[in-house]
Every structure is written in C-alpha cells, then in structure tokens.
Symmetry: C2
Subunit: 405 residues, 2 copies
C-alpha cells in the first residue's frame, strides 16, 4: 500500500457486515488504512463469498468488495465467541453490522451492550428500512432499496415500465454514505473521545442520490418522470444518446449542449461540419431546440451513425462539446488508461490468481490506494488474536479446540 | 442543529465548487458540522442557483444541494479577490473546486500555489475525466459521467437502447466518494498535520457503484448486460417487478426470493395463498424457477394485480419475503414517516419560504443532522471576513468599494 493514503492508520474496525452494503463501506475504511477485521462464521463465512463463485471458491464479487481487509472466524453462536467479540470491542474504534433487523440484538451485541464496554465506540448499522418506518422489520436487498427509495420510478423509457438502475445505489450507495459518516465520527472521536451511534436505511440512502429529481416538485407539482436516456429533472436539447457504427448494443454517444452555454451548440454544429446552421432560428435558442427536438436528434444522429463512438467522442470532445461514449463494463476493464492511472489494479489473489480489480477511485497525492487481495475465510484469525488481544499460542489453541473459531 | 452530529466542529472549508458534484460533497461536510464557506462570483454565483428556478430566485435544486453552508461573494477576476482566497486558505482545512479542466490553475489557485501557503491543506478536485486519461481536458455533466462510466450500458431493457439511471451517480455519486476521502484526510490532518491532494474523476467514480456488474466478467467473459428490472449480475427468480392495481406508471412491487434462502420462496407461496405449491418440482429449486420463470411471473402477478402496492408490500413483507413497493418521488415526499424520522425536514428558506428538503439520511444518536437553509448569494460575506480574517468594518467597506466582493 502506498503510504500517502494511509489516513486511518491505527483505526480498528470490528466488521460483522455481509453481502454488499456493509462490506462496501468497510472496504473504504480499509483502503484508507484502517485495520478492518472481518468477523465471519466458520461455516462458509460472509454469504457473499459464494455469489457468482465456483463451488469451493470465493467469487470475484466478494473479492471486489472485501479488498484490504483481514478475516477471522468466530462462532457467534457460542458464548465464548460473543465474549471474544466484546474483548475486541474494548480495543476498537468502530463496530459495524448489516444483519436482518433484530439479529444483532439477539446475538447480545446490541448498541447498549457494546457502549457499556467501550463508550468511545462508533456503532454503525445499515438496514433496509429506518427505525420508526412502518417497514422497519422488513428484509431488503439492493433492488428492494431501489424500488422503495424512488430510483426505479425515474429510470426507464417514458410510458414504459420502470427498470432497475444498474449501479447498486441501495447497497454500495448506502455503503458510501455510511463510510463518510463513520469518518466524520472518527474525527470527533479523535478530538474528543466521544462515540456515536450511526444508523442508515437503504431506502433513505437511495433518496440522497436523486435529490435533483425531487427538486422537480417545486416546478411541476408532480412526481419526477422516467425520461429514457434524458434527465428526469432538466429539459435540455440535446441531452440524449445517439447511435454510432457499427450499431452494437452499447454503440452510442451521449451528446449534451447546455442551454446555459450557447457556445456549446455552436461548437457542436462546427464539429459536425454544419457551421452554416449557426444562427438558424430552427435551432439557435434553447427554446427552439426543445420545440424542434426531433430535428435536432436527426441532425446529430445523421452525423454519429457515420462513425464509431470512439471517433465521435474524440471529435466532439476536442471541440469543447460535452460528450461521452457509452462504454460497457468490458470496454472499461480493457481500457489500459485505467491501469496506468491505478483506477484498475491487477492483484494476485490467493485462490483466484491474477485479478483485475477496481480500486478506490480517489487519488491521494497522485495515486489511488494500492489494492490488497480480499482475505480467504479465517486467514488472519490467529494474527488478529495475537495483535489485538495479546493472546498466547496456547490460549489460541484452546479456543480452537473449544470450537470458538 | 443538533449537537450530536457536529462531528467536524472547527473544520473550515473554502468551497469554490458549483452545480452538483462539488456541492453535494461539501454539503455532507456542512451537515456534519464543518464551516463550509461557498465562494461565489458576485454575478449570479453558482450557476446551479438558477437551475429549475423562477427568474431572480434560487431554485429548489440549489436549495437541496447547499444546505448548512455560508455564502460569500468574491470577484475571482480581481487580484485582490484571489489574494483574499489565499488569506482564507491559510486559515482553512479544506479547499475544493470542480471547475472545467485548467480553470483553477488559470485563476492562480492551483495545488502548488495553495500548498505553499498552507502545507496542511486538503486540496480536493472533481473533474469529468482523470488526470492522464485521453479525455482529461473534456467537459462533463452527470449524463456524460454515467455514459462513460458504464452505468448506462447496464441500465434498460435487454435488447433495447440504454437508458440513464435516474440517480445522479456521476454527480452526487462522486460527491459522496470525495466527502469520504476528505474526512479520511481530515483524520490524518488532525493526527499528524499532513495535508493531501485529492483528485476524483466522475467517470472513475461511477465504476465504483457498479462493481457487482464487473464481477460478471469472471463468469461470462463478456460485458454485463441490461436486464430490465432484474439485476444485471445475478440470476435469481423471482427478482422482478410485478404490476399492482390500479395500474399507474409506478404501481408495481419488487418481489425477491433469494436462491440462497429456500424459506423465502415458501413464505411467498403461503402469503399468496398458494401453500399447496410448496414442494412442487415446477418451482421448488432455484434452478427450476429460473427454467420456469414465466410461470413464476404469472403466479405472482396474478396475485399482485388484485391489490394495490401498499397492501401487497405489507402482506408479503410481514410474511418475511423481501419486497418493496415502487414509490415515486411525490409518494416519498408525502409519506409522513420520513418527516417523523427527520429524513425529510421542513425548513424556512429566506426567499422560497417553507420547503420540504431531504436531510443527510444517516442518523447520529437517533436523529439526522438538522438542515439549515441554503444561503442566499453573498449572505455571509462580511461575517466570514470578520470571523476568519479578523477584518475591520472599514477594511470590509474598502474591499466592497474596490469591487472585490
């Protein structure tokens, strides 16, 4: 790991989280230098380990969400296991979990219990629905959070059924909000020694990412609508996708010319060899372009169809037009620019071999933090017991014999 | 503001950001207690102020992204204005900007300049594309970030053109990653006095939110595909939307029964009055349900069509089935549960009057941070000069006369 990014050096995180919302949060803490100990059940561990995986292996899904962490196994159904967690808490800065509602309290690791052990602890929980919500006890996955948080209602073609936004806005989206909140609480913990109880619902988190759609209420008095490739909240022409050759399922470019910057429309016309249309009242004002949207769309797509998306993006982008080719996930993974810049890194995974993985995309003094492979199940159990609790080898062996790990 | 959330008390942020990616980031810092001073041009300020706004007013769009901040006007085209920013930097913890590429350096406020003034400064920048990318100099908006970051390629119906995810994953999504990174750097700044240069590209940020789609490459060897309301990366039946009465554009529920938890399918059957189908080989295993997806879909939609989404969600949710009604933005805003829990708060805005606004959804010791109205343009100019720079009233008057503010 490059030293520059070790911001959270010395911060200890007891991580009981699973699947994506919790692990995506603690992975940020780990990337920024915290010692994140992922506590897992000895029987299979985080159920996310098997998502998309070959039998007996961890999957890439898990590897992408659990880099830079350590793993220890603890049997949470044994009294000695729960006691072990409590001992770790007394040495920790942060505790986090995202089990189904009520589970952590049944395990005897609720907030009131852990706060007694360590009043400085930052106790973080992510659930599907908020405390006090009528749906408080309901189970949730990313799709449920996206349906109930409004993101699906504004995604899809107008007049057609909604679709699910591809990004996991409820899962990783929640993880990012909680990571920020934990670091805010850590700043205060460092300054004042005060702990915090942090709670986040996936439904509530999703709304944070679509506030611009909510802003439409003030103007229209009604819910934001689905708008295909256009924005659900801003009327601006052009602001759409246009087809490129050779016509594959992601062969499009997005072209935008801001109604607030008349220059951008002129640059677009020039770049397409249509400078003669500068000043044409059919297109000249933002209002005219809205009125004549289908003409604008034809004008642009006649040009885009004649080139591939890379060329189209290059020509328009260099001309100062906001433009973006629509890249698919494989095109992104194969774009060497990301590797050069450290946004995608190749790591050696203990069982999966060489893996291309996405790093934390924020560069610290020029480089994203270095990615370390996600741990195998229980890989660091003994190491953590020695380092965090000063346990002797004989004590560790005894715990093993007692089935604690 | 409730005291419990003032984690970043004493942290000073010089905020030159505009529109959404930057302001969504600094709003998090402000909600968590930092003193965020939004520096704006005297002529109209942040161009986001007029987005969706009536002439001469700030819009709700701006109000939602700039709560809890202070605003001061500074003429960045005057030498005295730039000098003023530099004096503020010497007293600040964080600097942030998201102008078009190259602008901040042309203004004379590049990283190397400000680092000389204050080596502890955390200098944060958000751009469309990363330093070193072939598109480094290109302009970007949210849609461009979503097109080039892959999120559009996996959103939409299979076989149909892509659509834009409704959440602003490139704008607010970048803001959240940068907010987390800034707080990580603040933790280190507090401990060691070391500053940081932080850079984030919207394209790179978007990829962070779709890592589960990238994980498909390991299994399929090809790009993740659009999958309508289903997940682009996990094959699981049922995991889809189902129509409810009365058949409006958002009258659906999402129903999920995990292939990893056979109980959830049984609970669903029981709740729909179809307990007789438990054990039926047509549906019993995860594989069978994938094979007979259209039968599963008919079975569920025959039931959902007979009730509205609220009732359907309540019945299935109480039965322990992961389920979520598809709420639109107006339904969410009108759901009083959010007001009771502080997730939506009503504030008094100086020019817009009473506003319902979305708060930071993470609860700190039971409550989200209290929202304070976004500032009017230049509302706090004199106050900040007095508090940050100990300026006298006569000095302030002189600067005003000189056109600095």
């Amino acid at each position: 790991m490059n030293e520059v990014s070790r911001c959270l050096e010395g911060v200890r995180v007891v991580d009981l989280s699973q699947f994506e919302a919790g692990p995506s949060c603690t992975e940020v803490l780990a990337w920024l230098g915290a010692d994140v100990v992922k506590v897992e059940t000895p029987r299979g561990g985080d159920p996310g380990r098997s998502t998309g995986a070959k039998p007996g292996q961890d999957g890439l899904w898990f590897a992408l969400l659990n880099a830079n962490k350590r793993s220890m196994t603890v049997n949470l159904k044994s009294e000695a296991g729960i006691d072990l967690i409590k001992r770790m808490i007394s040495n920790a800065n942060v505790f986090i979990e995202n089990f189904a509602p009520g589970t952590i309290e049944r395990l005897g690791l609720g907030y009131e219990v852990l706060r007694q052990i360590n009043p400085k602890i930052i106790y973080a929980q992510i659930k599907g629905f908020g405390t006090g919500s009528p749906y408080e006890s309901f189970l949730a996955f990313d799709s449920i959070g996206q349906a109930t948080g409004g993101s699906m209602s504004i995604t899809g073609e107008r007049g057609a059924p909604p679709v699910r936004p591809g990004p996991t806005v409820a899962d990783s989206g929640s993880g990012m909000l909680m990571a920020a909140s934990i670091m805010g609480a850590l700043y205060r913990q460092q300054a004042t020694g005060v702990g915090a109880r942090l709670e986040l619902a996936m439904q509530d988190a999703v709304m944070q990412y679509l506030r611009t759609a909510f802003s439409e209420h003030g103007n229209t008095g009604r819910a934001a609508q689905r708008a295909g490739a256009k924005s659900p909240s801003v009327v601006n022409v052009p602001s759409n996708i246009y087809p490129c050759s050779p016509g594959g399922s992601s062969d499009y470019i997005y072209v935008y010319a801001s109604r607030k910057a008349p220059d951008q429309w002129h640059r677009l016309l020039k770049a397409m060899g249509k400078a003669d249309l500068i000043g044409d009242p059919l297109y000249e004002t933002a209002q005219a372009r809205v009125k004549n949207e289908s003409l604008v769309d034809s004008l642009i797509s006649d040009w885009t169809r004649q080139r591939d998306k890379y060329e189209a993006m290059r020509i328009l982008g260099e001309a100062g037009v906001p433009v973006g080719a629509l890249f698919d996930t494989m095109e992104l993974e194969n774009d060497e620019s990301f590797q050069k810049r450290g946004i995608i890194q190749t790591i050696e995974h203990p069982t999966l071999g060489a893996l291309k993985v996405l790093a934390w995309p924020v560069r610290f003094d020029g480089r994203p933090p270095a990615v370390q492979a996600a741990p195998t199940l229980g890989q660091h159990t003994e190491e953590v017991l020695r380092q965090w609790l000063n346990m002797s080898q004989s004590d560790i062996e005894k715990m093993k014999r007692d089935g604690v790990m």
